[in-house]
Symmetry: C2
Subunit: 328 residues, 2 copies
């Protein structure tokens, strides 16, 4: 039996707006080492690449690995990524990082081949291979967080489209030019309804208009401006009437978005991930019934709608898988 | 140089609600023979298979070909097709044909391998290889007719999803449970807005409410209940104010539907085909500007939105291409 140190492995990196996660993944998909560092986006991409390389060296050393012997490094990053050219093209959550040649920067700093993907695409690959999509094909993922994204894995490969921008489910429309304004400028995008800030806005709105008041804990958090999508989700799971009303409404929106993904891709499974989806079955039960009632029966008959299994590790594990696939 | 008779060729068949089209296609994509017969759907699929086989024999004979030496037969049919099993699963426009084993029936009658696809998927392949999508990858098609469908070709292959139902753009939602009722039972589907019967309904509605009356020709057709989507499209192209208002409104709906397809698939080209799309630039100009304003800039920067180049031959040519690909 080989030791961890002599086994082939690859590095996965998931760059988010706040934290950057790191993983060393063996050929047989075992996590050999795992860690994270603050992204500190304002310092720019060159700073992150350098700090991530150092963090990977330390992390590997602590697990008896040489970072320099990694076969490849896979990078997931929040934004539109030109996967062929390895360039981050647009990134509202990483201001000033537009048009960074991410792949070549990581390749130079790590001394091995680098491949870069949109973070939700990497997450979709993670779920397809190691998570809720194991054994299913195709696998579609919708991620609900600060922004709303997605990805599709078919035949074991990320569906890229022309440049790697496929799966931007957050900017599909739910209405004909009505509804809340999205960060992209349009109205009625899936993201405008299902991003974490809208969860809080809806909770405030429903708390003000509901005949049943929220529980004292949620009322306090809302009044203090301290409520987050997670707070509202926890309140809903605990039976808070306002929290439940919020996620019942969001479940309908998510259900229509998922129905559209099913009609477009005929997936075997649609997975909901990201912070907003941590509300769990409170959200997914309504989303599932809405989606399955909307799509044509043969499409509904053979699709599962499931929560992500890898939680916030899906992106970094997917990035590691990307790097392993790059080598093979 | 080989004669047409000794060249390898395949047969393509496109089964619509009214007519079934036939083509014999050479390896190098030349149309060697082409014809059609009435579908007479009420007589059932076995009758059509027999009549189509006879029509193909006659058609081939008239062009110096032996139908029995066709390498394969490709069949496009209006409905949900399980492409792996070769079964027509659901087909609102061919009542009673549900669950027909189309591939095995054609294979037995023609004495060669048969492959079956949703007609819009076949159309998408036709446009990708021989039409408006030549040289582009991926190619997305939206078909607007009695129903609304679609298909995506990526890397030269039809994107199937799990069973072959991918690309059902007609049943993606444009509204949150509002808008006209669709044939599928849901409200607000793309099909409910863009099918040919809704073009006429909208023309009647706008003729009644418009400050500018329709031209006498369109007014007469509407009053006599003789207007079709084609009549309204021709009126719009001739500058009729009601016709123009109809297609400006439909152009916005189509633009949002196309924007959703772009965000989902990142295609290099989106093609609009089918009878309603014959209105041409009157419809497409509005659809194009609506779609490109809605999608994120990097996605908009590199996509063309074009009319179909093969008109109503796209499906049958695509079916012939499918058959040729099946052999290779």
């Amino acid at each position: 039996m080989k030791s961890a140190a002599s086994r082939g492995f690859a590095l996965g990196i998931d760059i988010g707006g706040t934290f950057t996660k790191l993983v060393a993944l063996s050929e047989d998909h075992l996590v050999l080492a795992e860690g994270r560092l603050p992204t500190e986006a304002a310092k720019g991409p060159a700073s992150l690449v350098e700090r991530a390389a150092e963090a990977c060296r330390d992390l590997c050393a602590a697990s008896g690995l040489e970072a320099s012997s990694a076969r490849a490094v896979g990078v997931g990053v929040a934004g539109l990524v030109d996967a062929t050219r390895g360039i981050l093209v647009a990134c509202p959550n990483l201001p000033g990082w537009e048009n960074t040649a991410v792949a070549s920067a990581f390749s130079a700093a790590f001394g091995c081949p680098a491949v870069v993907e949109n973070d939700a695409n990497a997450f979709a690959l993670g779920e397809a291979v190691l998570g809720a999509g194991r054994g299913c094909d195709p696998v579609a993922l919708v991620t609900l967080g600060t922004g709303v994204g997605g990805g599709v894995v078919a035949g074991g490969r990320i569906l890229h489209g022309r440049h790697g921008y496929a799966g931007e489910f957050g900017h599909m429309a739910l209405t004909l030019d009505q509804g809340p304004r999205c960060a992209c400028g349009a109205r009625g995008c899936v993201e405008a309804y299902l991003r974490s800030s809208h969860v809080v806005a809806l909770a405030l709105e429903l708390a003000a208009s509901s005949t049943e008041p929220p529980t004292p804990a949620l009322a306090r958090a809302l009044a203090a401006g301290e409520a987050t999508a997670r707070t509202v989700g926890e309140a809903a799971r605990a039976g808070d009437p306002v929290g439940l009303a919020v996620f019942r409404q969001l479940g309908q929106y998510l259900g229509i978005a998922i129905a559209n993904v099913i009609s477009a891709f005929n997936p075997q499974v649609v997975i909901a991930g990201g912070g907003v989806a941590l509300a769990g079955e409170v959200l997914l039960t309504v989303a599932r019934s809405t989606a399955l009632a909307r799509v044509m029966e043969p499409l509904a008959a053979d699709v599962a709608i499931l929560p992500a299994a890898l939680a916030d590790r899906g992106g970094v594990l997917g990035a590691g898988l990307l790097a392993l696939a790059h080598e093979s």
